[in-house]
């Protein structure tokens, strides 16, 4: 029989990082992600790795910057207001092409908002977030098990592309406990990426420079072109999504993370009533699964996007659909979690 253990999403993310060989963690406490910081405080110490409770979110992201340029697998975590503080650091990480894993367990905003679950940081996460032309890879788990596996994957993608990766969850995912089996049963293998760019002392070799300040004529434009080429490659290779009943669906729901779980129940209820409904769940929010949505939309009567926001991913769905079918929206804000009944009513009303 499969051995299962009960973990909350925050702890699963922590264990994903530990097993991926995270060597450095810095963070500053904030609800609803505190179990993650607490987990790292204990486990990093057990593993003889570095845990720092920094004096602020800004210092945490800059410590990650330092650890990463020295070659360490590094991570920080926070929740919405704290992630806003980290944006300068994230822009610098991308500019310097440094890998890092950043966890955002979203809460209600704007401002200090509240500590209830939310998905209102979608724009910030997927459209860059800081200054400059850039993207971070964004992965959105919808279960505790996936919180583990996607965090593990995030470290590989960060090293592979030398780019920060964001895990975008919400308060429900972070706080919820579920049985997980993967953690104990199939320990994935940690990949080793040769890092011939790190600053680890230049005795016997030429010095290396890592910087994002490029003042020479045309230098920064060339750098940006290179970055864009990398983003294009990521868009081609790293799209991830889950699809249900697309073969015969004439209407689909599109949602991610916690909300997609609730949407799945609506889909299965409507299916049992004979409705031809399907679902697309983006797992990578950037790169966004444009192609599958575009392809599917051509034979649909409509799409309902459901989010815990005023409608952010909605825009990416509309861009993908290119007007091929109507796109509707249902959202809750400021900590509201949509119920099965609410979404069901929305679908029936269309």
């Amino acid at each position: 029989m499969k051995e299962r253990i009960l973990l909350c999403g925050n702890e699963a993310i922590g264990e994903g990082a530990i097993q991926a060989g995270c060597q450095f963690y810095a963070g500053y406490p904030i609800t609803p992600q505190n179990e993650l910081t607490a987990y790292m405080a204990r486990r990093m110490n057990e593993e003889g790795r570095v845990f720092i409770q920094s004096e602020s979110e800004i210092s945490a992201i800059n410590m990650v910057f330092g650890a990463s340029l020295a070659g360490a697998r590094a991570m920080t975590s926070s929740s919405s207001p704290g992630i806003s503080l980290k944006q300068e650091g994230i822009s610098y990480l991308v500019g310097c092409e440094l890998p890092a894993v950043i966890i955002n367990i979203m809460r209600g905003g704007p401002g200090l908002g509240n500590i209830a679950p939310s998905q209102a940081d979608y724009f910030q996460a997927t459209k860059g977030g800081g200054h400059g032309d850039y993207h971070t890879i964004v992965l959105a788990p919808s279960s505790v098990e996936e919180a583990f596996s996607l965090t593990f994957l995030a470290f590989d993608l960060a090293d592979l592309y030398r780019n920060p990766v964001i895990i975008l969850g919400d308060g429900v995912l972070g706080q919820m406990m579920e049985p997980v089996s993967q953690i104990q049963n199939s320990r994935p293998k940690v990949k080793n990426y040769s890092k011939d760019w790190i600053l680890n002392g230049c005795r016997g070799r030429n010095p290396r420079i890592i910087r994002s300040l490029l003042l020479g004529e045309g230098e920064l434009e060339k750098h940006n072109q290179r970055l864009q080429k990398k983003f294009k490659e990521i868009k081609e290779k790293e799209v991830r999504f889950e699809a249900l009943y697309l073969e015969d669906a004439d209407f689909i729901l599109v949602s991610y993370g916690t909300v997609s779980r609730i949407c799945k129940a609506v889909v299965s209820n409507l299916r049992s009533l004979g409705k031809k409904i399907g679902l697309i769940r983006p797992v990578s929010l950037w790169p966004f699964p444009e192609e599958i949505i575009k392809k599917t939309a051509k034979r649909l009567k409509g799409i309902l996007v459901v989010e815990m926001s005023a409608g952010q991913m909605l825009e990416d769905v509309k861009i993908s659909v290119e007007g091929a079918c109507p796109v509707y929206f249902y959202g809750r804000m400021g900590g509201g979690v949509p119920t099965e009944e609410e979404i069901f009513k929305q679908v029936i009303a269309l």
């Binding site: 308060g171 429900v172 406990m177 579920e178 049985p179 779980r261 799945k264 129940a265």
Partner: protein, 173 residues
């Protein structure tokens, strides 16, 4: 089968542990289960609740708006969750700390003087186990054995025996 349980009471009454033990026991019975705390600005002495969903099918949302069972350990929790409990649902009340003034006829209400019974066992902290035992006997969602097996994972060895006794006391009411 889908059971949605809200456990509520004062911080310090073992509300979170009560929910976690239920969740662990459900996991041992190979059921789908989620556990979720209310994680507002809770303080010791304030009210807190945890939500446990136990099902034969994959669980969509761990957030419970209207429970099928409410286990309430104090008056504020009773006042909050009695009106929200689903029709034909079950409300188990710790009558040592809450007075039931039944305004709804569509609920089953089970009264357990859990804090007083726990005091008789020598420690009011096991009131949560007494009420959990009463729940298991009433609802039969999970077996007493699975819950007994789950205890050592959350209760330290020192207090294990007392908790087991309290659980059985509630079960045999």
């Amino acid at each position: 089968m889908k059971e949605e349980v809200i456990c509520a009471g004062f911080g310090g009454q073992g509300i979170m542990v009560l929910g976690k033990i239920l969740a662990l026991a459900a996991m041992k019975e190979d059921k789908f289960v989620t556990w979720m705390p209310s994680y507002g600005a809770e303080v010791r002495g304030g009210t807190a609740h945890s939500m446990v969903v136990i099902s034969d099918r994959e669980i969509t949302s761990p957030v419970i708006t209207n429970p099928t069972t409410a286990i309430v350990m104090n008056q504020p929790s009773l006042d909050k969750f009695l009106p929200k409990t689903k029709a034909q649902g079950l409300v188990i009340v710790n009558t040592s700390l809450a007075k039931v003034n039944p305004t709804r006829k569509d609920l089953e209400i089970l009264k357990v003087p859990a804090t007083e019974m726990a005091a008789k066992l020598g420690n009011i902290k096991v009131a949560n186990m007494i009420i959990l035992g009463a729940y298991l006997a009433k609802r039969k969602t999970l077996s007493l054995e699975s819950v007994l097996n789950a205890l050592p994972e959350t209760i330290s060895a020192e207090f294990l025996e007392l908790n087991e006794i309290a659980l059985r006391t509630g079960f045999n009411l």
